[in-house]
Amino acid sequence: MIIWMIIGMALVTAVPRFIPAFIIDQAHFPKWVDRWLNAIPYAALGALIFPGVLSVKPDAPQIGVVAALVAILLAWVNVHIIVVVLGAIASVFFMTL
């Protein structure tokens, strides 16, 4: 059964991923659609961060908020992204001691 679940999951994930390759190949978009598509990464990042970050510790959403603030601070002072990730992990680790 698990194998069919995996194949089903793979299909419903892959099809929406590759259909746009054909759409883009066929269609030409007006300038405003290009601008829309160029803004998608920033909108996606926003939607991926919040409110999901509150559920890092579902019973204590403030831990996610503080860790996010630590990450923002670290990223703002231009440290490497790996340090941002490690700093956020460390802050959650110490807050849950």
Binding site: T13, I24, G46, A47, I49, F50, V85
Partner: protein, 245 residues
């Protein structure tokens, strides 16, 4: 002077682009490792075999959906429900793929398809931040190397998690839940520093996503709507972005 000239020549070779792609994918690799290990451990505990654990990462390559599926398997949910939930949760990749493929108009369809299959939240957002590479020669190899670096660590980490069982102390693995969020923040903030208006687009998307979920919408559709409507605000807010080469 001599080395600079050599670099200028090799800057467009395939192997140089592959190397640059791998370096660009390195942060994703490090972000994926702990998450993939945790997935492997949890999937093993839910009763999946090591082959199934690894195969799911090979064929699906979508972290959140895989965690969801493992949770649903553990709860005894039916296959159809799990597949539908996966579709809803992963539909955001359709929007991301439209954006990514539009950026890659310069490359052939047969090269676009394998890249599109490698789209995750992380490979997409990192790829889109490397804007000028899409205009260079051998652009395909840059993005392919970036995605493969992430893919290898995701599949390898899942396998290791399944084989090793509980390798990470529970408190540490709990703390690692923040890793991908921190990565998203680490990707967004440098862009915001360059153009403050990017923060408005992101906050707008956050609010839409938050309100939709508040009103009881499924998380997957809420992220899709937040991304689409948030991105729509960029048409007016990010006009200066267009002037960049």
């Amino acid at each position: 002077m001599g080395t600079q000239a050599i670099e200028a020549v090799t800057g467009t070779t395939r192997s140089h682009m592959i190397k640059r792609g791998m370096i660009a994918g390195l942060p994703i690799m490090l972000g994926y490792m702990p998450i993939a290990l945790t997935y492997g451990v949890l999937a093993g505990q839910s009763g999946m075999t090591n082959v199934e654990i690894t195969l799911m990462s090979v064929l699906v390559f979508a972290g959140a959906a895989q965690f969801l599926a493992v949770g649903m398997v553990a709860a005894g949910t039916g296959v159809i429900e799990i597949v539908i939930a996966t579709f809803v949760l992963n539909f955001r990749h359709f929007v991301m793929s439209l954006s990514f493929m539009n950026r890659l108009r310069g490359i052939a369809l047969r090269a676009k398809i394998p890249l599109s299959l490698g789209i995750t939240d992380e490979t997409f957002t990192v790829s889109m931040l490397y804007r000028k590479e899409s205009k260079e020669a051998h652009a395909f190899w840059f993005y392919a190397a970036l995605i493969l670096t992430a893919y290898v660590s995701w599949v390898g980490g899942s396998y290791l998690g399944g084989v090793l069982g509980d390798v990470i102390p529970p408190r540490l693995s709990q703390s690692m839940g923040i890793a991908l969020y921190a990565m998203f923040i680490g990707l967004l903030v440098p862009s915001v520093r360059k153009h403050y208006r990017i923060a408005l687009v992101a906050i707008f998307a956050m609010m839409i996503n938050f309100l939709c979920q508040w009103w009881g919408m499924n998380q997957g559709w809420a992220i899709v709507l937040g991304t689409l409507i948030g991105g729509l605000s960029g048409i007016w807010l990010l006009d200066m972005e267009e002037e960049e080469p």
